[in-house]
Amino acid sequence: MTKRTTIAMLAVVAAGVGLVGGAVSAQDLRVALAAEPTSMDPHYQNLTINNSMATQVYDALVLQDVNQNLIPGLAESWQPVDGTTWEFKLRSGVTFHNGAAFTAEDVVATMQRAANVPNSPSSFATFIKGKTFEIVDDLTLRVSTENPNPFTPNDMSRVAIIDSAFVDATTEDFNTGQAAFGTGPFTLTKWLPGDVIELKRNDGYWGAAVDWDNVTIRPIGDGTTRAAALIAGDVDFIERVGPADLPNLESRDGLSVFKSVSNRLLYMTLHLADDRMRPYVTDNDGNLIASPFQDIRVRQAVSVAINRQAIADRVMDGLSAPSGQFSPEGYIGYSANLKPDAYDPDRAKELLAEAGFSDGFKLTIHGPAGRYSNDTRILEAIAQMLSRIGIDTSVETMPASVFFKRFARGGPDDTPEFTVAMSGYANGSGEPSHPLRIFIHTRGNGYGPGNRNGYSNAEVDKLIEDGRASMDIAMGEKAFIQATETAMQEYALVPIHHEIATWAARDGVAYEHGALDSTFIHNIRSK
């Protein structure tokens, strides 16, 4: 069947549904998501889809807006009272869905439960361990740490608060709904795994009211099926529109598409240390050479040889934004001074010649297949672009599970394996020092677990450490931006682009989007 006839048929179906379905209340919303949570227990697994679903039913002390800026939640305000302690003033008059009043007691009970959920695949303990919770009065809570921790409010934004009556409830109790009472904008009415999640408006919500009386959420894994469901009128809203379906949905009357530059960055690491690795970089005769990327001019040559706009236009179908740093514009840690390198192959050749590689060299670049949007095609495009400036490049891709293992410790003595690799990063917690701590700081002492190419700059390290040790958040952020600027100017890694997240809805439904590519039901608005 050709594409046109499919569209025509879908249009007929859609028209039919429109006629019959006219009576459906405007305040009911039907949503199709690409995946479903692994549990309705908000403390079971620290997983993006679980967390975004949990924010519908539960609140945390601190909430995050669509760009992961911290905003008041169950705590009205918070401030440091000394070098290691934060004081949270809790919101008064808030009740759980079961009618119980919210007090500091509930926060302590929540922390106790969330850090100790049995069989948790990825525990929330990481946000809770090392913190002491002290109840000052019903609506005042102090959280202290051994060392200064400016990110205690960030950590508190990750943990959904439950009623202290359910401190011993099992994950199963939450899945069946017996214990699923939060303070959030919706109440959970039904969850049939693999089939449907039903939410109902919480009329007593303390914050801005949501626009929907009832919400039905269905998981539809396949992108084309999701788009077809929207076209047919089976659902009102979908997430993750595939690039292939995008032109179709955009050109259709009665539907609108929402796009947003997400904080998911695609980047390359270039090996900077002096050790001879596996033969992924050789001279033109095939003899192993030390990594040419120790020379900043070669790293710069690679960066300016990449035509990021061409990748965005031709490979990503417009669904990427060329980037020169970890954060997209408007997101925490963004530096206005860092622009993506402009494409300039002649300059790249000059830089290579200046570094003594006028004849180029041979290189194999590695990356995952199927982990990021169009990953293998991007690698292929980069290989073309590097070959153009004289670096004879070949590409090796592998399944993501294999790639990440070798990327982290496939080399001798469990060292990272690849000379040049492409990977991705998204800041899940919204904590501004996270990418610097993981990728930029010199490896060791809990720092730099993702620093695989041996980048090390004492000045940058100091900025990161100082920023993390100061309770003055504004100063810390300044230090982080400065560290980011130095690291990016030295090509600690080579940013390529931020992926653009997509949603689509029928007319009358809008989405308030930001840098997060996950979907938050309370941000879906009726208009």
Binding site: P247, N307, R314, L379, V395, E396
Partner: protein, 302 residues
């Protein structure tokens, strides 16, 4: 049976070859498939001379030429008669080069598998007994696994690369040759001339090499032809699944897979033309192989 006629069948002379050729040419289907096959092989061998561009040279391929429709002009002025793929390769050139990769893989793996299979099959048939039982059980085990599954596992272990695909396909196929040649050799062993040869106290090697091998090999010619077509399909499947050849040097299978994501958005040519070529190649080899069998095996031709 042990008359001159049988002897002439042992050592196919020029006369027999020309007769076979004559028989092949007399049928239009055979003639067409033969000519198609010949042109495919010739264009694969002379790919660098025939193809308008070199799709494997990353320094000349550009994504700015990506997904041009058939007949569009590429950046450097070349007309892409069959369009370009997502990475900006001219599909026509990519088909010609891809065909080359596919044929190299299929023929090399068939030759390796044939050699190993012959050795195992003849040894089993000649010595019989425990050796035979042992070798044939290995063959049984090998044949009980689906070819594509074995190839997938092997490539997951070996990694990507043309050489690795050849090794994987040879391992997948040798057992079939071994089984076939053993059957043919068992028949020969029971013939009178073979008893006569055995009485001459010749060395085992000489008996196998000079007498058993030439008489058992004819059935393999047909099998090898059909298996070559089969190898091309398996290689295409493996590359389609992304475990075959490197993505920068696509074979027919990886070209088809390459374009698969674009089918819904209307860029049919990336998948369609390589698919047609794959179909034509496999069909031509199969038809040719069938006709060859009909001519070589008198029971079918009469």
């Amino acid at each position: 049976m042990s008359n001159p006629k049988a002897m002439s069948a042992l050592r196919p002379g020029n006369e027999r070859i020309s007769k076979t050729l004559q028989a092949l040419m007399s049928k239009p289907t055979t003639l067409i498939s033969g000519l198609l096959l010949l042109s495919i092989v010739v264009s694969a061998i002379f790919a660098p001379l025939i193809a308008p561009t070199n799709p494997y040279d990353l320094a000349t391929v550009s994504i700015l030429d990506g997904r041009l429709a058939p007949g569009d002009e590429m950046f450097d002025g070349t007309i892409a008669w069959l369009g370009t793929d997502g990475a900006g390769r001219d599909v026509l050139s990519a088909i010609i080069y891809g065909l080359r990769t596919s044929l190299i893989v299929a023929i090399s793996s068939a030759l390796i598998a044939l050699t190993v299979g012959l050795a195992v099959g003849l040894t089993a048939a000649f010595y019989g007994g425990r050796i035979d039982a042992f070798l044939m059980r290995i063959v049984d085990i090998q044949l009980s696994f689906p070819a594509i599954l074995v190839a997938l596992v092997l490539l997951a272990l070996l990694g990507k690369g043309v050489d690795k695909v050849i090794i994987a396909l040879a391992i997948v196929q040798w057992a079939l040759y071994a089984r076939t040649v053993r059957a043919a050799a068992m028949v020969e062993r029971r013939k009178e001339y073979f008893e006569a040869v055995t009485c001459l106290e010749l060395s085992n090697a000489r008996i196998i090499w000079k007498h058993l091998l030439p008489n058992s090999v004819s059935s393999l010619i047909v099998l090898a032809t059909l298996q070559t077509a089969h190898s091309i399909s398996i290689e295409a499947t493996l590359s389609f699944l992304g475990v075959g050849v490197p993505i920068t040097e696509p074979s027919l299978g990886s070209l088809i897979s390459n374009g698969f994501d674009y089918v819904l958005s209307g860029a049919y040519w990336i998948t369609f033309f390589p698919g047609i070529m794959l179909l034509a190649t496999v069909a031509a080899i199969n038809i040719f192989g069938d006709q060859l069998r009909a001519i070589i095996n008198p029971r079918i031709s009469k």
